[in-house]
């Protein structure tokens, strides 16, 4: 386990961090097993339960625990997960008794590769069943995450088999599930770190016809977890004001014309919709009386072959339709339809209105979700389908009609077949990697990590992308090296080259940088030449305008114009200099980049020297400091051959100017 403990620490600390934000009053305890020492109440009270240590008794989450969990002790002996489970269960029962049913959760993280001790009496199976039944009775949920990436040879196959069997026993006797994970990435994904109380979207009838109705509940099965909504912060209040709330309020003003100061009240506005050239006002009353009206309900429209519904027609996140758990007959009806659907490959088309007065109805497809567990009722997944208006019928050329030089020949096709076959992420159902269900969101991971760092030091730098996530962003090096010859022959068979007819500004595709690197320089070249043509460097988005203009190729003098205009803008910014120092600085950087790209070093170098003089004259020291700190230099020979500045001297101008500044 030691090799994966750093990832376990990461997963757990994420769990605790999120609790600190979303569920501050949750209570957490930590038990480790396989430790040299023993430290738990059961051991003290009745003996046994060796090598199980309670790191933290159950109490409300706090900063310390998030810290603590990052330094799990490395044990020295084999761990008995059954002992640990009993210790954990005992803690929960002692703490809460029979209360808090369904809110008590035991999470076991193990590789389940060490043997468990034989019980004093009965078999292990009996013992596990007893524990599981006790858990069910106490309303304790259990999840086991079994991490087995590359078990060493010393792990006994028989032991593993027995342990898996025992864990399965839990599943059939308690609310328990076992997740097998094979990589650190899935380990991070397997632990549900955010507790969301499931809420039904709809409770009511699934109507086959007016006489036959099935009682169902609908939940969201998929809903995007986003970054927390960060509040805006105002630093305007004087630091002495202890009662400052630092809040920011957003105000909307509705003005008759852009220039006028006349503001109208929100209720004096009316919605207008475009009709040809005109905008037609429609009052809320008109909308209310005339609009499409709906009644809550799910109505069956019919069944159809599953192949009629192509996968890419699914429009939104997915709902799940479960039978009302209190209605046994509805559970049966759903089971009958779902199982038969799966059997004969059909799906149901339904029309749904989730709430009374909802502004629109949706049409969607029910697909079967036949349960693999005996104790879970069968259900349906619900996906929204598009309406006629949602489809854009753009024609595309048939592949058959393309010129034959664009099509692969037999040999190339064989190479491609091989690649698709061999670059396999799911050699068997058990070995599937990168399952969405076990793949965590890298951005969330990174945000919480950064948050933690910032809580310790305000100016902490953004940590680099966690290594674990490489497996998500890049191809698996092992898979690649195993299939090296296939990859090589694919590369060899499909040669690509840049279209020589294109001008350099639009060439961007082959300049592939390794992913993960924050590549700001690339931004400029990715500009799309087809977009709206920019011909002026405006005040609002000078950098974008400049970049757009300088990469225009429809006339030769655009770059010249862009550079001139950008210079003027910078001068303006500097001259009116108030707080705009940053903006000016950014513009200078953009100008420098542009001049390198256009190989116009002279333009920039002269300008920079000029700017510098100006700043000195006007005593704009803060700007100069900025320049130094951002290491703005002249463009040296290495970046543009035409430059007459030697590399060593590129930064010189700041240095040599500095003493004059002091005076």
């Amino acid at each position: 386990m030691h090799s994966v403990l750093p990832d376990v620490e990461k997963a757990c600390s994420m769990l605790l961090q999120k609790k600190l934000i979303y569920n501050k009053y949750d209570e957490v305890g930590i038990v480790v097993f396989g430790t040299e020492e023993t430290g738990n109440e059961l051991a003290r009270e009745i003996g046994g339960y060796e090598n199980v240590t309670v790191l933290r008794n159950i109490r409300v989450v706090d900063e310390v625990v998030a810290e603590h969990v990052k330094q799990l002790p490395r044990g020295t002996v084999a761990g008995d997960f059954l002992d640990a489970l009993i210790v954990g269960m005992d803690m929960l029962i002692k703490m809460y008794g029979n209360a808090q049913k369904g809110k008590k959760r035991l999470c076991l993280i193990t590789n389940a590769a060490c043997p468990t001790k034989d019980p004093f009496e009965g078999t292990k199976d009996d013992q596990v069943s007893t524990i599981a039944m006790k858990m069910a009775a106490e309303g304790i949920k259990m999840e086991s995450i079994v991490m087995r990436s590359n078990l060493n040879g010393d792990a006994h196959e028989r032991v593993i088999e027995e342990n898996d069997h025992l864990l399965n026993l839990f599943s059939s006797n308690a609310i328990a599930k076992t997740v097998n994970v094979e990589s650190p990435l899935s380990l991070l994904g397997s632990l549900k770190t955010r507790r969301v109380a499931p809420v039904t979207l709809f409770r009511g009838d699934l109507e086959i016809n007016p006489t036959m109705k099935i009682k169902v509940w609908v939940y969201k099965k998929v809903a995007e977890e986003r970054l927390p909504t960060l509040k805006m912060y105002s630093d305007k209040a004087p630091p002495t004001d202890k009662f400052a709330k630092h809040e920011v309020k957003i105000d909307y003003d509705y003005k008759v014309t852009a220039e006028s100061t006349e503001v109208i009240a929100p209720e004096e506005r009316i919605k207008g919709f475009r009709y040809g050239r005109q905008v037609i006002p429609i009052s809320p009353d008109q909308i209310e009386t005339l609009k499409f009206k709906t009644d809550k309900g799910m109505k069956l429209l019919g069944f159809t072959e599953a192949s009629n519904i192509l996968r890419h027609y699914y429009m939104k996140d997915v709902n799940i339709v479960v039978p009302d758990p209190s209605k046994e007959k509805s559970v049966l009806a759903v089971s009958a339809i779902a199982r038969e659907m799966k059997q004969i490959n059909m799906v149901a088309i339904v029309r749904c209105v989730w709430r009374n007065g909802q502004s629109n109805a949706v049409v969607g497809v029910l697909t079967p979700n036949v349960s693999e567990r005996d104790d879970t009722p069968d259900s349906f997944y619900f996906n929204v389908l598009p309406f006629a208006e949602d489809v854009r019928e753009f024609p595309f050329p048939s592949f058959n009609k393309l010129p034959s030089s664009w099509k692969p020949d037999e040999q190339q096709q064989a190479v491609a077949d091989n690649l698709v076959k061999m670059l396999d992420l799911a050699p068997s159902a058990k070995e599937e990697v990168l399952k969405p269900d076990l793949t965590p969101n890298p951005v969330l991971q990174r945000f919480y990590e950064y948050l933690e760092l910032k809580s310790k030091s305000t100016d902490a730098a953004l940590p680099p992308m966690d290594e674990t996530f490489k497996r998500l962003i890049e191809q698996d090096p092992e898979l690649i090296s195993n299939n090296k010859s296939i990859m090589d022959s694919f590369r060899g068979s499909f040669e690509v080259k840049e279209n020589p007819k294109l001008k350099k500004a639009s060439k961007r595709l082959l300049r592939d940088k390794p992913s993960g690197s924050d590549d700001e320089d690339n931004r400029m070249i990715t500009y799309e030449p087809n977009e709206k043509k920019i011909d002026v460097v405006g005040d609002a988005n000078p950098i974008q305008d400049f970049e757009a203009m300088i990469s225009r190729r429809d006339k030769t003098d655009w770059s010249e114009k862009a550079i001139t205009q950008m210079k003027n803008l910078i001068m303006k910014l500097v001259e009116n200099c108030t707080d705009e120092g940053d903006k000016a600085l950014e513009c200078v950087l953009a100008l420098r980049k542009g001049c390198v790209l256009e190989q116009e070093p002279k333009q920039f170098n002269e300008f920079l020297n000029h700017l510098f003089k100006l700043c000195q004259e006007r005593k704009l020291c803060h700007l100069l400091e900025h320049f130094t700190s951002k290491k703005i230099t002249l463009i040296p020979k290495s970046e543009a051959a035409d430059s007459d500045v030697v590399d060593e001297n590129a930064g010189d101008f700041t240095v040599k100017q500095e003493p004059m500044l002091e005076s």
């Binding site: 912060y233 429009m315 009958a336 502004s359 879970t376 793949t439």
Partner: protein
């Protein structure tokens, strides 16, 4: 305050890419409707849909155009149209030709975007036609007048507007005269035929297409071979198919679905990294996106002029106006952690915007719940990287052949996502493309986004009820009976959107009634009531519920309802009327207030004051 709090059509989850999909001006169409107004158009009639009523050909043509305009203004409001009658008594056209009248309304050029006023006045054209325009045959042998020739000339002149590279130019010609020069002397006839055909050919050479919408008499079909086959350039193969398709064409013009048509455009350019050292170029298209009724413009309700919205950020402590970008905070561990906007965007930037292939999986690994938002369609391009199409097609074929999809990481969205690339073969029907060939990029959820609902509904150790063989058989029979053959995914119009367009049209055109829109999404009642269907449903019901359909065994709900009742009993705890009188309701907790509301069947929503007011009003009654 939200800018648009009750925008009914906005997708609940704002698509972060939305800006990509916003409309751009569609490539335009220029259309001239040419309507024959000869006396024959008024005297020939057809039986109308209403019984015992005859409609003149003129009426059919005019109402068809009126209907078509009403869809047009919504679907492609940037197109420019002109309406032109020929064989008229009065004349109105730039060339000052006899027998041709270009219909127009003020504030509009002869050929221009359709306006509400144009549609409104055109709707009434039949009432004023005789007075203002008048019908008169304009092909006269002696004077060599040829109104058809003139009409084509006027139309062609109108269509001179706009470049033929960026716009489609079309004439729609409505007539019931299949032999316009039939009564002429042979020499005149030949001459007129020749010049008219030449005029039409000139127009076609300029990239203008001429579409004929002939109207047949009940007893005599329009004979296309007499003259018009040469004018519109039909070859003999097309000839036999032409007349039968006319009726459909007219119907199509009338019954167009109101659907805004967007120009085909690339939503994103994507670099697809197949392996180190091999990247190809793809274009991404948004082929499926929820249609919305168009952007809302806020107007000043007194002047109906657009208002400008200004947003400002105000510091609540000092009242100072804040400038973008504003720092953000996240309360954490008893402190406020600050983030600059730049830092937050850095956090989100974890890779380049490329699409990187990770590997392949069998299609069965893609579950029905692996979906978040509409897919993006990918089609290769050799514009920048030569060889892209070839590599793409090879992979595409292999994936279809082996029934596998590609798993890739796409950095072009926020947050970047794992995506499934599913190869789609081309599907054609009736000569049209139903599914283009390419790959659909399906955005996969992360583990964080997937909820474990099944678990919530399991009862450990208790087997869930499962259907018996008999029940399965009955379900199967039911499904066969209720099978929708030839179901196509997007056969339903969006009822709320169609309703919205109908309202908009009624208000814009001052119509007295909003035209009825049919809700196609409701079950087909007639079909559902077919005896065989009713029987299949009855059998299935019987197999599940037995003879006593009302006997639903409740295994848990009772407890709950008892709880609620117990709650209700509590409302005796307080004398609400007394409390209300003394103004002490505010001392109660929200929960206590709600007990009263529940007991009296009142709504429970709102803040505490709202609840108190609601109780007060209730007591006041």
């Amino acid at each position: 305050m939200e800018l648009d709090p009750d925008d009914v059509f906005r997708d609940e989850d704002e698509d972060p890419e939305n800006e990509f999909f916003q409309e751009k001006e569609a490539s335009k169409e220029f259309i001239v409707y040419l309507i024959d107004a000869s006396p024959k158009m008024f005297s020939s009639t057809c039986p109308s849909e209403e019984k015992d009523k005859q409609e003149s050909h003129f009426h059919i043509a005019v109402s068809c155009i009126a209907q078509s305009l009403k869809s047009h203004i919504i679907n492609r409001s940037n197109d420019e149209i002109a309406i032109c009658f020929f064989n008229t008594r009065e004349k109105k056209n730039l060339q000052d030709l006899n027998g041709v009248y270009v219909f127009d309304v003020p504030e509009r050029d002869c050929i221009d975007r359709p306006t509400a006023r144009l549609i409104k006045e055109f709707d009434l054209i039949e009432e004023s036609f005789d007075k203002d325009i008048g019908s008169q045959t304009g092909i006269v042998s002696d004077s060599r007048e040829n109104s058809l020739y003139s009409a084509l000339w006027v139309a062609q002149a109108l269509l001179r507007k706009g470049s033929s590279k960026t716009a489609d130019k079309r004439m729609f010609l409505f007539t019931n005269e299949d032999d316009p020069f039939g009564n002429m002397r042979i020499s005149v006839k030949e001459d007129m035929t020749r010049t008219t055909l030449q005029r039409a050919k000139d127009a076609q050479d300029l990239g203008i297409s001429i579409e004929l919408l002939p109207l047949s008499q009940p007893d005599k079909q329009f004979n296309i071979t007499l003259f018009y086959k040469d004018l519109i350039g039909l070859n003999s193969d097309e000839l036999t198919e032409f007349m039968p398709s006319v009726g459909q064409k007219l119907e199509d013009m009338k019954d167009q679905l109101k659907k805004r048509v967007l120009a085909k455009r690339i939503a994103k350019r994507i670099t697809f990294v197949i392996c180190d050292g091999l990247s190809i170029e793809l274009n991404g298209y948004a082929l499926l996106r929820p249609a919305i009724p168009g952007s809302i413009t806020w107007l000043d309700s007194t002047t109906n002029l657009p208002v400008k919205v200004e947003r400002s950020y105000i510091c609540t402590d000092t009242g100072a106006i804040m400038q973008d970008p504003i720092q953000r905070i996240q309360p954490y561990k008893n402190q406020n952690i600050m983030f600059t906007v730049e830092e937050l965007s850095q956090v989100k930037r974890i890779s380049t915007g490329h699409l990187r292939l990770l590997g392949f999986k069998p299609l069965s690994c893609l579950k029905d719940y692996h979906n978040l938002k509409p897919s993006t369609f990918l089609y290769p391009s050799d514009k920048e990287v030569i060889g892209s199409t070839r590599a793409f097609i090879a992979l595409h074929r292999s994936m279809i052949q082996l029934e596998r999809f590609a798993v890739a990481f796409y950095g072009g969205t926020t947050p970047p996502r794992l995506v499934a690339l599913v190869a789609q073969d081309e599907i054609e029907s009736d000569g049209g493309q139903v599914e283009p060939p390419g790959m659909n990029m399906i955005y996969l959820p992360y583990a964080n986004d997937i909820r474990d609902i099944d678990e919530l509904h399991s009862k450990p150790g208790v087997a869930a009820p499962r259907a018996s063989e008999d029940q399965l058989k009955k379900a199967s029979a039911l499904m066969r009976r209720l099978e929708l053959k030839d179901f196509s995914v997007c056969q339903f119009a969006n009822p709320a959107l169609q309703r919205h367009y109908a309202i908009l049209q009624a208000i814009a055109l001052d119509e007295n009634e909003v035209s009825e829109t049919r809700d196609e999404t409701l079950p087909d009642e007639e079909g559902m009531n077919r005896p065989a269907v009713v029987k299949a449903i009855e059998n299935f019901k019987q197999s599940i519920y037995g003879n006593d359909p009302d006997e639903e065994s409740d295994s848990g709900a009772k407890e709950k309802s008892r709880k609620r009742k117990a709650g209700n009993a509590d409302d005796g705890k307080y004398d609400y009327i007394e409390l209300a009188k003394t103004g002490k309701l505010k001392d109660l907790t929200v929960v206590e207030l709600k007990t009263y509301l529940i007991a009296n069947n009142l709504p429970l929503g709102g803040k505490k004051e709202v609840l108190i007011n609601r109780i007060l009003t209730h007591i006041g009654k």
